[in-house]
């Protein structure tokens, strides 16, 4: 659906995007991840035909952004970093304006406006002046604006920035509900957002592509070893935390055991496995056979946070072995 090849964008002095290539399949939600100034907004502006690339190619739904911008524009909905709203318009008036601008036929306009008002839950403020709206509502109006013409591709620049936690959750589930019939690219620097909303992630840093993969693969691939948290409770009488620790260390495949905390009879450990070893069954057996209670045993996910920091760290050496670079 979206094809980017060797895309480069140079401003007067800076190279904002440097020779990046990626592809997005139809119906996917892709997270566009990168620190400040990475070039996310710039890439999105090229994809939406707001500005032409300096070099390279980008196409949306098979139409090149330089050669057939009108066709591209018809097929995308775009929410810029700042919601592009007019303070002196009422919400409903604004949505009608955008609807006409996007070429919705007159006969469908009212229906489409009502639909997005419903979908983005802005009914309460439909006749309010946009200048009088809170940031969260403004963002929702911005989102309504992006989906009003039911575009094939949605490009959302930091759609949850500046929202309160409840609104963030609502917005994320709204975005998720849009996937399927829409192909979505959303940019963010919030990692959990990508883990929760996206299937695919594209990481860029300083204008360069660092990684592109499915969220699942990326976490797995970089999680060379498994990390597990266990809670052990002595069954009768006191058990020394050190005793348990010694026992756990003997389990095959375990590389390191860390005593996290002890509360009375309960002791919590974090255990790392050797590369590529499944240790959970053996751990469970070891605890139970020693006559202790196994209260909890769960994998600790290596967060995207760590991956992200590793990948975007300035020195190249930080790129992990196995190379996710494409």
């Amino acid at each position: 659906m979206i094809n980017v090849e060797g895309l480069t964008k140079r401003y007067a002095r800076t190279i904002a995007v440097d020779n990046i290539s990626f592809e997005v399949q139809k119906g996917q939600i892709v997270g566009f991840l990168g620190p400040n100034g990475a070039g996310k907004t710039t890439t999105m502006r090229v994809l939406t035909c707001f500005m032409p690339p300096t070099a390279g190619k980008a196409s949306v739904a098979g139409f090149d952004v330089l050669e057939q911008p009108m066709e591209v524009k018809k097929r995308i909905g775009y929410l810029p970093e700042l919601p592009p709203v007019y303070g002196d318009m009422e919400v409903i008036e604004y949505l009608r304006f955008v609807g006409r601008l996007k070429g919705i036929p007159k006969a469908d306009l009212k229906r489409r406006v009502d639909e997005v008002i419903e979908r983005c839950a802005v009914g309460e403020v439909r006749t309010r002046l946009i200048s009088k709206l809170s940031k969260g509502y403004r963002q929702r109006v911005g989102l309504s604006q992006a989906i009003i013409h039911n575009p094939d591709v949605l490009i959302l620049d930091e759609p949850t920035a500046g929202l309160d936690p409840k609104q963030i959750i609502e917005t994320r589930s709204l975005i998720k509900s849009l996937a399927g019939d829409h192909t979505i690219i959303l940019s963010t620097h919030i990692l959990p957002e990508v883990e929760q909303t996206c299937e695919q992630v594209i990481i860029i840093s300083r204008g360069k592509l660092v990684a592109t993969d499915s969220v699942h693969n990326l976490t797995n691939r970089l999680r060379g070893s498994e990390a597990v948290a266990v809670e052990v409770e002595g069954r009768d009488g006191a058990v020394n935390s050190a005793v348990i620790l010694q026992r756990l260390e003997k389990v095959p495949g375990v590389s390191r055991v860390l005593a996290k905390e002890s509360r009375g009879q309960r002791h919590i450990f974090e255990i790392e496995s050797l590369q590529g070893r499944a240790i959970r069954p053996d751990l469970a057996r070891a605890v139970v056979e020693s006559g202790w209670n196994l209260n909890e045993l769960r994998p600790v996910a290596v967060s995207l946070e760590e991956i992200f920091l590793q990948l975007t760290a300035s020195d190249e050496a930080a790129t992990p072995a196995g190379g996710v670079k494409q």
Binding site: F50, P80, P84, V85, Y86, D88, M89, R100, L101
Partner: protein, 255 residues
């Protein structure tokens, strides 16, 4: 076409949603009301004096009231026009709504035309309101209305020219005040170019004087439509709008 109408309607609404439109209308009506009063009083006084001197020659209202009125309105217009055009693009850039316009399936030209037409209608409304004074002349006298219409046509053409230039300047900045000030400076410049003609008859002076928007207005004020002047205004409008579209395009390259 539909897009131009959409943009046009949005701009008109936005003008009338702000107090500036009404302020400008009041300002313009007040000033031209004062001129009207002054010219009419002068006219009446002269008439009485002439009669006392025993020369009961009929005097021409058109020549003594309408023509100077029109000339003055064309100058006052120079002050009003920057206020109308300064927000056209500068505000869209500041709000970020330019991103909405530029990523919608709408051509730049449609946006520019919609905005320029709205500005022209706004300016015409201001002129029309100020023109209510002249209606009094028709109530109490019998002036020739054709020169008045021609004069108004001239005002609209001159306005259209300066509005196109103002629109162009508004694309170059995101600061309305800067856009307004620069437009005012250019309007003033195009006005005083007229003076160049009084300092020399060299061809350079002639070319410079030719560019004066006021020089081309004078015949209209006299009730004369000269195709040369019409062509001047139309080509200046075209040129202004062309610059605007080039500027919008280059915005994308620089952005």
């Amino acid at each position: 076409m539909r897009n131009t109408v959409t943009i046009f309607q949005k701009e008109i609404k936005s003008y009338f949603a702000s107090p500036i439109a009404y302020g400008l209308m009041a300002f313009f009506a007040l000033i031209s009301g004062y001129f009207f009063f002054a010219f009419t009083a002068n006219f009446v006084e002269r008439g009485i004096r002439m009669q006392m001197m025993g020369r009961g020659m009929p005097m021409d209202v058109n020549e003594w009231v309408i023509r100077p009125m029109l000339m003055n309105m064309s100058v006052v217009g120079l002050f009003v026009i920057p206020m109308i055009t300064m927000r056209l693009f500068a505000e869209e850039k500041r709000l970020g709504t330019i991103e909405l316009l530029a990523t919608s399936p709408v051509r730049d030209l449609e946006i520019i035309l919609g905005k320029w037409l709205a500005a022209l209608v706004m300016y015409s409304a201001i002129l029309a309101l100020a023109g209510i004074n002249t209606a009094l002349l028709f109530l109490y006298g019998n002036p020739d209305w054709k020169p008045l219409l021609v004069g108004y046509l001239g005002l609209v053409l001159q306005g259209g020219t300066l509005l196109a230039i103002g629109a162009f300047i508004s694309t170059t900045t995101r600061n309305q005040i800067i856009a307004g000030t620069a437009t005012f400076a250019i309007c003033l410049l195009l006005w005083v170019l007229d003076w160049a003609s009084s300092y020399g008859t060299t061809s350079a002076a002639k070319v410079i004087a030719y560019l004066s928007v006021v020089t081309h207005f004078e015949p209209f004020a006299k009730g004369v439509i000269d195709s040369k002047d019409v062509i001047f205004y139309l080509s200046m409008i075209f040129f202004g709008l062309f610059l605007t579209s080039r500027s919008m395009e280059s915005l994308r390259w620089r952005a």
